[in-house]
Amino acid sequence: MEDAYIVAYGRSAAGKAKGGAMAHERPDEVAAQVLKGVMNRVDGGFQPAMVEDVIVGNAFPESLQGQNIARTISMLAGMPESVPGQTVNRFCSSGLQTIAIAANQIRSRQADILAAGGVELMSAVPMGGNEPTNSPVLQDEDTGVSYPMGLTAEMVAEEYSVSRKDQDSYSVQSHQRAIKARDSGRFDDEIIPIDVNSVSYDENGPVVTKESFRTDELIRPDTNLETLEELPTIFKAGGTVTAASSAPLTDGTGFVILMSGNKVKELGVTPIARFVGYKAVGVDPKLMGIGPAYAIPEVLELTGLGVEDMDLIELNEAFASQTVATIREAGLDTEKTNVNGGAIALGHPLGASGAMLTARLLAEMKKRPASKYGMVTMCVGVGMGAAGVFEFIRD
């Protein structure tokens, strides 16, 4: 079997959906900017025209994100028409799923060079899509397929006894870690600045200027336990989940370039990490958030590794309740998990998160010379979980 290597990664800064930095942007255009930026980072004899497919994850591939956005992105990124594109949807693990698809294509020698990632501008397409739907049959069977994500977070909190205090404390920690990382330039390596439109208004009407967007804008440095304790629960009366212990609506995109071992050698490209394995699992839709606690043991079994082998973990924080429950159930080391904060502070642009977390994982592993194995994992809507393992390559 051929090995698949990540040879470049990068993500946009995370924007606040609705009214944030990407409020005036199109998803295909920001994704193309980041993909271009990532391709620029590949050294050796690499050329964008060599990419054999662009695989893009997206959780709501319709309207502005529709029309097979991957194809539009590849063309906008300046790739020749010979480079095709496919859009993949597994909700919140879409951006990791695309990396796994690309890696497995390379491993089975179907391709040598692929671009994979994800994009989601939650400002562009609302959660649930523009025309939400629900299966009448599954609804009648009380499967919980239509449960709002926040309600599943409540169910996880109840089932796994994650208290309000646990959730609030965890959320505060997420912000504290994120602000520390941001202020010390910890994210500079993974972020690819993008040009965005800035619109102001004067007496003649709108004034449009270009700005460079390069800093995650959702972190709230002033977050503290006292304020959080005051917040109302929004998904269940008398529940425990609040807006602050949920990931905010986010705009973002991220990509990696994958290459076969042969091509790495042939083009003289420096490999960054080797793809080790990926697993997606299904769980009770009502307990959606516990997905990663099931995906993690499966991917470890697949790769023959133990949880103690993981030197760094990016566990997507859709909700504090499911993050805490997953940490407990899967026995994760909190000192190795989300060391620079997570989605509660940094945001969670659904289909893009997998690729953005991969970029964050690899950028941090680069700074930790002793680290070898890293994991990206997340819960996935309608009761799923996913996890992927990477091995950092050092000379």
């Binding site: 939400p132 009448p136 609804q139 397929v145 239509s146 449960y147 709002p148 009366a237």
Partner: protein, 752 residues
């Protein structure tokens, strides 16, 4: 001059509420206040603007009206080149400040501009000193009552120099454009309403203290039983503000001839010292406890739970004000005598104020009814109690009566007299076709039918449904051009007869009796909707349940802005079944909108119905789709019948096209599953009860057209059948029965 542009001076609570009222009436309004510091010169007026246009609790009927409101400051924005037709000043009650502001205004104002000062206490003549002779003619007092959106009374106070032109113009504006009731008051302290109202409140408190009636006892006696607000005397002072009442009392005590009518009272004195001015200070004569209201106890100097007052005369009171007054007149017990003296002293003082405060006694009645929410004014009450016997007894007890009363030997009003100023409906009607228990049908302007809903509580009864069908038969088959439907009273109609529904459940006759009744209701509303000639419904106040459904089926509606519409059946565990759901679905499905828009709007409608949401004004009803853009919204509720007749006439003369009957695609099982998912999440999240879930799911079922597969064509009649089926099933459910029972017993919804 037609007043279309106004500048409000002073952006305090009153100023901003007046500004909002004017904007709601369609005027272009500027609100100004003193300039703040250099960085933020409009700080104060901007704050008022923000309050008026607050997204959550706007004072505007519709936030889009905000484009007719601007703010600024006295230094920069009194430029005079904005064509302001009227300046309304509502700055602090301080003569110096008022002079300063008006002096600035007059320098730039146009030579036809009107100047109105909103004051409750400062003599108009003294404020007028800053004006030159021409300006003085255009200056007058204009006293709004709080809150100005709701309170009908505006006292207009001319003084020696005010021209009759200016006075006529402003009266017309206040009545026709703002829909207010104007009382012309003389320039005497406290004008009319506050003078009479404060005197009687002060008199009650004084005698209550003398005779040992407690606060709670006094309020139990002096509320609705005698046609005054249910708060009673002390409760009302808490609402108005004790400090304000005391200011008026002290002002009048300074005048030698008034001094004898205004007394110092002990409890008020104590509370004034404590700063307990009432509601705005969260404590006054009353204070809100954890569950109930506590009352101030002067002995312990603390708030205590009040005892339930027990008086012989309270047992004699009922809903009939005339009978209550009779009981008061004949009472021999202490409390009864206390009430007699209350009314007697009020009658006497009111009589003394003609023509001192108001030239006409009817104006005093208007002032008290419109400004203090009395059911009847003093002279009306006097008549009801018996003009002669009251006069005689007053003379015996008080001595000499004012000259004009002494001379008078007939009651103040004849049977047909009304204190209202609008043209009564009887003016338009030529002949009566029928006068039945639930409806009155007459002919207006010789060829228009006028159908009045007059059932008990204006409920939409089975008989009324029959009368409606019959009237539309007449309209369509005889030489009538159009028809107007209306009702009188504070509310158009609060819906169906819940007692009847309860009884049908108890007697197990739901299918037998209610089923055919629904069919008849559907038939009558369909006849209304698809009538061949224009039918206009004039609506005002609450229009709920079946009342709302009648309005929904009216091809054209003239609604007063104070119209409160809602399909509230879910509150008693039912679904609207007078075609309400079918009509709402029809309004959404017959549009050419995209499927997703239809789904979204349907969910909004479902949610409004599930939570029994009632619009807070007619413009909001437009947002809820209970009214349409083709309907007319007017500010002056009392002109609704007149305007409805005009609208009906206009429609009949401009090729009225009856509503078309259309088919459309049902949202079907796809939408129902979506709604079900949403409701399931709300139930699991403890936001709604199990039975709320069931009832709302039934609403969703009907709106969807049931379990139909994609791309199935239906029509209004099909949805009406579903409505009926769900209604009959729900009405036979014990949980619905319990909701109805609870509502009838407590007036509040039961969430079982």
């Amino acid at each position: 001059m037609t007043i279309r542009k106004a500048t409000v001076l002073g952006a305090g609570v009153m100023g901003s509420q007046i500004a909002a009222l004017l904007v709601n009436a369609g005027l272009r309004v500027k609100i100004l206040d003193i300039a703040g510091d250099r960085d933020e010169p409009n700080e104060i007026s901007k704050k008022a603007y923000d309050t008026i246009t607050d997204k959550k609790r706007p004072q505007l009927f519709d936030l889009s009206f905000a484009s007719n409101l601007t703010y600024g400051n006295f230094e920069e924005d009194l430029t005079g080149d904005d064509g302001t037709d009227i300046y309304i000043e509502a700055v602090k009650e301080d003569l110096g400040i008022k002079h300063e502001v008006w002096d600035k205004v007059r320098r730039t104002a146009g030579d036809r501009t009107l100047f109105a000062t909103n004051t409750s206490g400062i003599p108009i003549a003294s404020i007028s000193k800053v004006f030159d002779d021409s300006e003085k003619k255009r200056f007058f007092g204009m006293h709004f009552f709080n809150p100005p959106r709701i309170m009908k009374l505006v006292e207009v106070i001319p003084y020696a120099n005010t021209s009759s032109d200016a006075l006529e113009e402003v009266q017309l504006f206040l009545e026709d454009v703002l829909g207010k009731g104007v009382v012309i008051a003389n320039d005497v302290p406290a004008f009319v309403a506050n003078r009479i109202g404060t005197q009687t409140m002060n008199d009650i408190m004084f005698r209550a203290e003398q005779q040992g009636f407690s606060i709670a006892e006094t309020d139990a006696l002096t509320g609705r039983n005698i046609g005054r607000p249910g708060t009673g005397t002390y409760g009302l002072v808490d609402l108005v503000g004790l400090d304000i009442a005391v200011t008026v009392i002290r002002g009048l005590q300074q005048i030698p001839e008034e001094k004898q009518f205004f007394h110092d009272t002990k409890i008020a004195g104590t509370l004034m010292e404590k700063g307990a001015f009432g509601k705005k200070k969260k404590q006054g004569f009353y204070k809100k406890g954890k569950e109930d209201y506590l009352v101030f106890d002067p002995e312990s100097n603390d708030y205590i739970t009040p005892d339930q007052p027990e008086f012989h005369i309270l047992g004699k009171f009922g809903r009939d004000l005339g009978a209550n007054l009779d009981a008061v007149f004949n009472a021999e017990d202490e409390a009864g005598r206390f009430l007699w003296e209350t009314l007697r002293n009020n009658f006497y003082y009111s009589a003394l104020n003609v023509p001192k405060a108001a030239s006409d006694y009817a104006d005093i009645d208007r002032a008290m009814v419109w400004g203090f929410n009395w059911k009847k004014g003093p002279f009306q009450l006097w008549d009801m109690m018996g003009f002669e016997r009251v006069k005689e007894r007053m003379e015996n007890e008080l001595g000499e009566l004012p000259g004009w009363i002494k001379k008078r030997d007939t009651p103040f009003y004849s049977e047909s007299d009304s204190i209202e100023r609008v043209t009564p409906v009887s003016e338009f009607t030529d002949s009566e076709i029928w006068n039945r228990e639930d409806s009155l049908l007459s002919v207006a302007h010789s060829d228009q039918l006028l159908l009045k809903l007059q059932s008990r509580n204006n409920i939409i009864s089975d008989d009324f449904a029959g009368d409606l069908i019959e009237s539309i038969d007449l309209l369509e088959n005889e030489d009538y051009s159009s028809m107007v439907i209306y009702a009188e009273g504070r509310h158009f109609s609060v819906g169906a007869d819940l007692y009847l529904m309860k009884k049908m459940h108890e007697d197990n006759r739901v299918e037998e009796i209610v089923g055919p009744a629904i069919d008849k209701l559907h038939e009558s509303f369909n006849r209304l909707k698809y009538a061949l000639k224009p039918v206009v419904t004039a609506v005002y106040g609450k229009s709920l349940g079946g009342g709302c459904e009648l309005v929904l089926h009216s091809p054209i509606v003239v609604a007063a802005s104070e119209t409160y519409m809602g399909l509230v059946e879910a509150g008693v565990g039912l679904v609207p079944s007078g075609g309400g759901l079918a009509e709402m679905a029809d309004r959404i499905l017959s549009t050419g909108h995209m499927q997703n828009d239809k789904q979204k709007t349907m969910t909004e409608v479902m949610t409004n119905i599930a939570f029994a949401k009632v619009s807070t004004n007619a413009h909001e009803a437009l947002k809820y789709k209970y009214l349409r853009n083709t309907d007319t919204i007017i500010l002056n509720a009392e002109k609704r019948v007149e305007i409805a007749l005009e609208r009906a006439r206009y429609e009949s003369e401009t090729n009225y096209i009856p509503k078309p009957k259309v088919n459309y695609t049902a949202l079907g099982r796809d939408y129902k599953a979506l709604a079900k998912g949403q409701l399931d999440a709300q139930r699991t999240g403890n936001f709604i009860s199990d039975y709320d879930y069931e009832v709302t799911l039934d609403v969703a079922h009907v709106l969807s057209g049931g379990e139909l597969p994609r791309n199935t064509i239906i029509n209004q009649g099909y949805i009406q059948k579903l409505e009926k089926e769900r209604f009959l099933t729900l009405l036979q459910n014990d949980k619905t029965y319990n909701r109805i029972k609870h509502m009838l017993e407590t007036g509040k919804p039961l969430r079982n």
